[in-house]
Amino acid sequence: MMTPDADNKANIQSTHSSSVAGVGSRITELFFNKIHEKWRSIVVAIPFIWLLVFFLAPFFIVFKISIAESLIASPPFSSLFDWTEEGVITVRVIFDSFLYLVEDELYLDTYLTSIRISSISTLICLLLGYPIAYAIIKSPDTTRHILLLMVILPFWTSFLLRVYAWMGLLADQGTINDLLIWLGIIDKPIRLLYSHFAVYVGIVYTYIPFMILPLYANMEKLDMTLHEAAADLGAKPMSTFFTVTLPLTLPGIIAGSLLVFIPATGEYVIPDLLGGGNVSMIGKVLYNEFNANHDWPVASAVAIALLLALVVPMMIYQHVQSKEGVS
C-alpha cells in the first residue's frame, strides 16, 4: 500500500519525468476536474428541481384555481384556457375570489386573528425559549445533551396525539380542573378548553422547540469571554445582556421567531381541536371553504393571500441576513 507521502513522491516524479507522461497526467487531472465541477452542479440542482416540482408547480395550480370561477362540476372550477370552435384560445381570469376576500369582513378578521395569535405565541415562545436555550448552553456537557434531547423528545410522539392529550388535560372534567378542585382553589370547573387560552397553550407547547433549537445553535457560537470583557469594561449583567448577548443572538431570535410564526399562522389542527368554535384562524377557514363550501377558487385565494402574508416577513429576514453577510 502506498503511504500518502509515497503518493506525493510519485506525483512529483510523474511531473518531472518525460513530457508524454506529464501530458497524460494533466489530461486525467482535467478530466477529474470536469467531473468534480459537474458533481457540484448536480448536487445543487437536485434540491432545486425538487422545489420546482413539489413547491412551485402546486403553487401555480392553486394560483390557477384562485383566478377561476366556482362551478358545480368536477373539478368544481372553470378552466383557465378554453378552445373556442374557431380554434382560438380564450383565457378567463376572474378575480372574484380575491375581491370576495376583501369584501367579506370574515376573512380580514380571521387573518388578523391568526396573525395576532401567532405573533403573541411567537413572543411567548421567545420569552420562554430564550432562557431555556441559554440555560442549556450554560449547563455542563453531560446534562446539556440530556436537556437538548428533552427538547426534541416530544417529536417522537404524533403531533395529533399530543394535542388530544392537551384536550384531556384542559377539559372541564380534565386533569387540571380536577386537580384545582381537589386542592380547593376552585369550586366548579373553569373553562380552559375551547378558548383562546387553550390555543395559545397548544401553539406555544407545539412550536417552542422550533424556537429553542435555532437559539441554541446560535448561542453555541457565542464567545463567552465577550461577557467577561463587557463586565471588565464596567457593564453590569443587565447591560451586558442588552449590549452584547442580545445583539449577537439576534439571528437566532429571528430564525426561531420565523420558524414559529409562519407555521403557527396557518395552523389548523390546534385551533380546531383546542379552540373549537370559539377561535377561528385562517387555516380553519381554508379547510371549511374546501370541504364544507366546496368553493375551491375562494379557498385557493385564501391560501394565496396567506402565502403572500407570510412571504413578506421571510423576505425581510432574507434581506437582513444578506446584509449581515456583506458587512
Binding site: 464567545d223 469571554t225 465577550l226 467577561e228 470583557a229 463587557a230 463586565a231 471588565d232 469594561l233 464596567g234 457593564a235 453590569k236 447591560s239 449590549t243 452584547v244 445583539p247 449577537l248 458587512s327
Partner: protein, 397 residues
Amino acid sequence: MTIFGFGWEIMTNETNYQDRQWLDPDAEPFIQLRGVTKQFGSFTAVKGVDLDIYKGELFSLLGGSGCGKTTLLRMLAGFETPTSGTIYIDGMAMNDVPPYERPVNMMFQSYALFPHMTVESNVAYGLKRDGVKKSEIAERVDAMLSMVELSDFAKRKPHQLSGGQRQRVALARALVKRPKVLLLDEPLVALDKRLREQTQFELMNIQDKLGVTFIVVTHDQEEAMTLSTRIAVMDQGQFMQIGTPTEIYEYPETKLIANFIGSVNMFEGRVVSNDDDHMLVDSVETACRFELGAVAKAEKGAKLWVAVRPEKISMSTTAPQSVGTNQIKGTVHDIGYLGNMSIYRIQLDQNGSSEGGSLVEVTVPNQVRPKDGKHAIDWDDEVYLSWHPESSVALFR
C-alpha cells in the same frame, strides 16, 4: 530568601528607589495578595500565594500551562473568587467587588472584541457604561485610537482587521478607561515573531507614558525578560522565584528555575571548603574542582549543583597555561549554527576517555565567518572549557 551580591549592591548604593520600589521598605504596595488560594473541585490551581506589586510596575507572571498564572490574573480581574485569602488593590479588599466595579481592565488573550461593533464603539464601550459625557467619549476614543495608530480604522468591524490591529484595538479599549491596573493575558501570543517584537516595545512605551501598572501573564520567557520590571516564575500554583529579569536569569534559586529560564549546565558536587570570599566544590562526575564566588552558607560536604550558563563558558583548542579551577576538557560533539552565534555541545572526558561523558552546552558568538564550511572550532576538536568563578551559581535544590 537568599539575596545575592548583585542585589545587595543596589540596596546599599541606591537611595533613589523610583524604578525599584520593591526594594524600598517604606513603599506601599499597590496590589497585595495575601494567602490567596483557588480550588476547582479537588484541584488546587493557586496555593496560598503572597505577592506585592508596586505602582507603575510591569510585572510578569511566567510559567507553563496549568501553573495557575491565568487563574491568578482572573482573580485579579474578578472573574474568579479566591477560595481563601484576600486580594487588595490600592488598599481595598477586592473579594466582594464584582468585575464591573474594579479599577482594573483586562486585555484578553483572544482579544474578545465585540464582533457586532465598530472599532470606535468597541473602544467607547467602557466609557459609555460609566456614563461619561458624549463629547468626552469621542475625544478620549480619538486620542486613544491615534495613540495605537488606528484612527483610519475607526469605522471598521473587528473581522476586517489584521491580528496586530485587533490586538491594538483590545489594548486601546482596555486603556481608554484609564485603569489603575491593566491585566494582559498572553498579549502577544497570537502575533507572528516580527510583530511580537515590535509590539513588545510598543507596550513598554505605552506603559512608560501612562504609568499604569501592567500585570502580564505569559508562558514565553523571552517576552517576560524583555518586558518586565519583575517576573514571578510560577509552578503548580506557587511562586518559585520573584525577581528582576537579571536576578532570575543570573541568580536562579533552584535547579527548576535555572532550567526554566534559558539553558544551563549543571554539575553535581560536594563542598570542599567555604570561606568568606570563595567556595570550592569537587565534582566526581567531571573529576574537576569548581570555584565559586562567596555565596550562602554551605557546610563542608554538603551536596550541591554548580550551574553555569552556556554563554559564560569560554572555549579554546589550546590547553590553559596552568592547571586551575573551573577547567574541563572535552570533545566537540555537535554544532548548532544559528548565524549570529553557534551552540556547541561538548562531550566531557570521563576517566581519561571521551566515551559516554556528559554533554556541556557552550554558546559562542560568531565573530569570524566559517571558512570553506569549517568552523574555527570544528567537529571532534579537543577543547578546553573554563569560566570565571563569579559566573557560576550554587544551587542546593
